[in-house]
């Protein structure tokens, strides 16, 4: 899948962008459940985009469904790497050179809960979704 683009080392100071669907925004912040892995095998990981090859706006536009609504958060790579057992791996796709997986357990056991808790402490909005999520009372 990644033959088209070389796999690069991602510096600590760079950013990772990630979409957050409006259903998962409560009280103006993403819920802890958004920090989870997708895919299987080698492709398993939390999908993000590396700031060297993507802007937050481009990440937002990569939503497959046209009806998608939500915001884009950013995380500093250094902060992600400080979370236990989380690694940042550039995994470019033919149509997305920026694609990066954050690998490592994010669920089950105390460790999974700890990991998601720590993710909740390192994100910032790049593109804030105006309005609360569909699951919230204000929606």
């Amino acid at each position: 899948m990644s033959e088209s683009w070389p796999i690069e080392q991602i510096p600590d100071a760079d950013l990772l962008f990630m979409r957050v669907h409006r259903n998962y925004i409560q009280n103006g912040q993403p819920i802890p459940g958004v920090f989870q892995n997708h895919g299987e095998g080698e492709q398993e990981g939390m999908s993000t985009d590396w700031s060297r090859h993507s802007t937050a706006e481009q990440t937002k536009l990569r939503a497959i469904n046209a009806a998608w609504r939500g915001g884009v958060i950013q995380m500093v790579v250094r902060d992600v790497r400080k979370i236990p057992r989380q690694t940042v791996q550039h995994a470019p796709l033919p149509d997305n050179r920026a694609h990066t997986n954050v690998k490592g357990p994010k669920k089950e056991s105390v460790e999974g809960t700890q990991v998601r808790y720590l993710f909740m402490g390192i994100w910032k909005w790049s593109i804030k979704f105006e309005g609360d999520g569909a699951a919230s009372p204000a929606a």
Binding site: N23, I31, E108, V110
Partner: protein
């Protein structure tokens, strides 16, 4: 004629009431009266008897309804107040005092995560079952009530959301303290938690599993007291 006022089949199930028959008590032989007149008198008496019986039935049913409503007063009251959010929460949280209304409201709002319908634009599809949600709510209310009961302190309402694999997350933040408690979909698995103090995260933190046999965890309890409204 059958005596309608005593032990007929349908009246067995009704409260006993002495009914005095009003028709046909006096013998009226056809030979004593012209046929038409006798029939008219019978019809008149029958009508009067039916009217009295009707009144009796109405009165009896009225008594039954009154008795039943007195017996079922608590259930009927609950129905009347079910529409308010606080009353609906009370069905899950019978012990929460009025001071914990913010917790009740957060619980009420969180019901949207139960069996959330699939949204085609949503790649994660996070949702949970009613059972898992209820388990999470029990843990939340037990801790909120315990802190209230022991310290007269009201904890902050958490963000109640669906977590991975059908689990439920309870997330508190009250700078510099925070806590995430995850309730797995599998009821045999214990809930897990992690929290820290952002000013001293390496040495001041709490984590662990909730003992399934005990609803309240002292570590969680202490941490939640930190998140109380100041």
């Amino acid at each position: 004629m059958e005596d309608l006022g005593t032990n007929t089949g349908w009246s067995d199930c009704m409260p006993h009431r002495e009914v005095r028959p009003v028709g046909f008590a006096v013998s009226h032989l056809e030979e004593d009266w012209p046929k038409g007149l006798a029939k008219a008198q019978d019809i008149g008496r029958l009508a009067a008897e039916l009217a009295e019986l009707r009144e009796l039935v109405v009165e009896t049913f009225s008594d039954i309804r009154r008795t039943l409503s007195q017996r079922e007063q608590p259930r009927l009251r609950e129905r009347k107040t079910k529409r308010t959010s606080q009353a609906a929460s009370q069905r899950v949280l019978p012990f929460l005092p009025a001071e914990l209304a913010p917790i009740s409201e957060a619980i009420q709002r969180s019901k949207t995560i139960i069996n959330r319908p699939q949204d085609p634009s949503d790649e994660l599809g996070l949702t949970c079952s009613h059972e898992t949600w209820q388990r999470g709510i029990r843990i939340l209310t037990a801790h909120a009530f315990s802190v209230w009961q022991n310290a007269r302190v009201v904890i902050r309402p958490p963000v109640i959301s669906a977590g991975p694999d059908g689990s439920v997350d309870l997330y508190w933040t009250a700078e510099p303290y925070g806590l995430l408690l995850n309730v797995p979909a599998d009821p045999t698995q214990p809930a897990t938690y992690f929290g820290d103090d952002a000013t001293n995260p390496d040495s001041n933190r709490t984590s662990g599993k909730l003992n399934s046999s005990k609803l309240i965890n002292p570590g969680v309890l202490t941490w939640l007291a930190h998140t109380a409204e100041q």
